[in-house]
């Protein structure tokens, strides 16, 4: 299914939020297996979405965490730009 850049970014925001929230919970409950399973599920989803984004629109992360050309890292819109 085709997804616009904005739509893909929204999906990343959603999956990432689930990961942030579960990560904080797991910090104080590291032995909670149900939460750990949820975390794995959302982080796999997040990795897939980021890979898809990078393939279509360019790098998402710096310092070698994105395997794409850094020229577009520089010139792509910054998060605070409308």
């Amino acid at each position: 299914m085709e997804m616009t850049e904005q739509c893909l970014k929204a999906k990343i925001t959603e999956a990432q939020f689930a990961c942030v929230e579960l990560q904080l919970y797991l910090d104080t409950h590291p032995d909670d297996e149900a939460a750990a399973t949820d975390f794995t599920c959302y982080s796999e989803k997040l990795q897939q979405l980021i890979a898809r984004y990078e393939q279509e629109y360019g790098p998402f992360l710096n310092f070698g965490h994105s395997i794409s050309d850094m020229g577009s890292w520089v010139y792509q819109k910054w998060p605070w730009e409308l």
């Binding site: 990432q16 942030v20 904080l24 104080t28 710096n62 998060p79 409308l82």
Partner: protein, 199 residues
């Protein structure tokens, strides 16, 4: 080590200048209970924590606070973008403009620069965690005050998200306090150096 992700934690799209709110939002960008203060407080307190779970919580919440700090910067930037000198003056930002133009400088709404004097790193896990819980509540109430000051939905929405995060962080720090208290209670003696010497 930190890496940067080229996206905000929660979207910020303020399409019209709102210099009056830009000025007020500085409270959470460079004020005493700001996201910057929160990030530096938690990340600096990690080294004297006696438990892995607490070190993990301070690392991850400290990191999330940096993402919130960036959201605030984006909000202030967008609220000031395109505002004329007259509009900035009417909003009480003439002094700010003379020193910082439309830049996003970490100060409070009265122009007082950010200072680490606004937080503590005592080296005592209980004292630090109790401060962290209070800091989350102070930030929550500041977000409520900010939301009371505007009816601009493009500003209220990200503020609502940020307020909610303070509530979650408070919960996690409460759990950290309990972890540390349980740990200290199971130890037979106080870790204070003077007490040790007396024995």
């Amino acid at each position: 080590m930190w890496i940067y992700e080229k996206q905000l934690e929660y979207p910020v799209n303020i399409t019209k200048p709102d210099p009056r709110m830009a000025k007020l939002l500085l409270a959470q960008y460079g004020g005493p209970d700001s996201e910057l203060g929160a990030a530096l407080r938690y990340l600096s307190q990690r080294y004297s924590m006696p438990d892995d779970r607490v070190r993990a919580t301070l690392t991850d919440i400290g990191t999330e606070e940096l993402a919130h700090w960036e959201m605030l910067a984006a909000m202030i930037h967008q609220c000031m973008q395109g505002a004329s000198c007259e509009e900035l003056t009417a909003a009480g930002l003439n002094g700010y403009y003379v020193m910082h133009d439309h830049g996003v400088y970490p100060c409070d709404p009265n122009g007082v620069p950010f200072s680490s004097a606004c937080f503590a790193v005592t080296g005592d896990p209980i004292a630090d965690l109790v401060e962290d819980m209070a800091a989350e509540q102070k930030a929550r109430v500041t977000y409520e005050h900010l939301m009371n000051m505007t009816d601009n939905c493009q500003i209220i929405e990200p503020l609502y998200f940020l307020r909610e995060r303070e509530v979650v962080h408070y919960q996690r720090f409460g759990e950290c306090l309990e972890i540390v208290q349980n740990k200290l209670n199971t130890r037979s003696s106080c870790t204070c150096r003077n007490n040790r010497r007396r024995r």
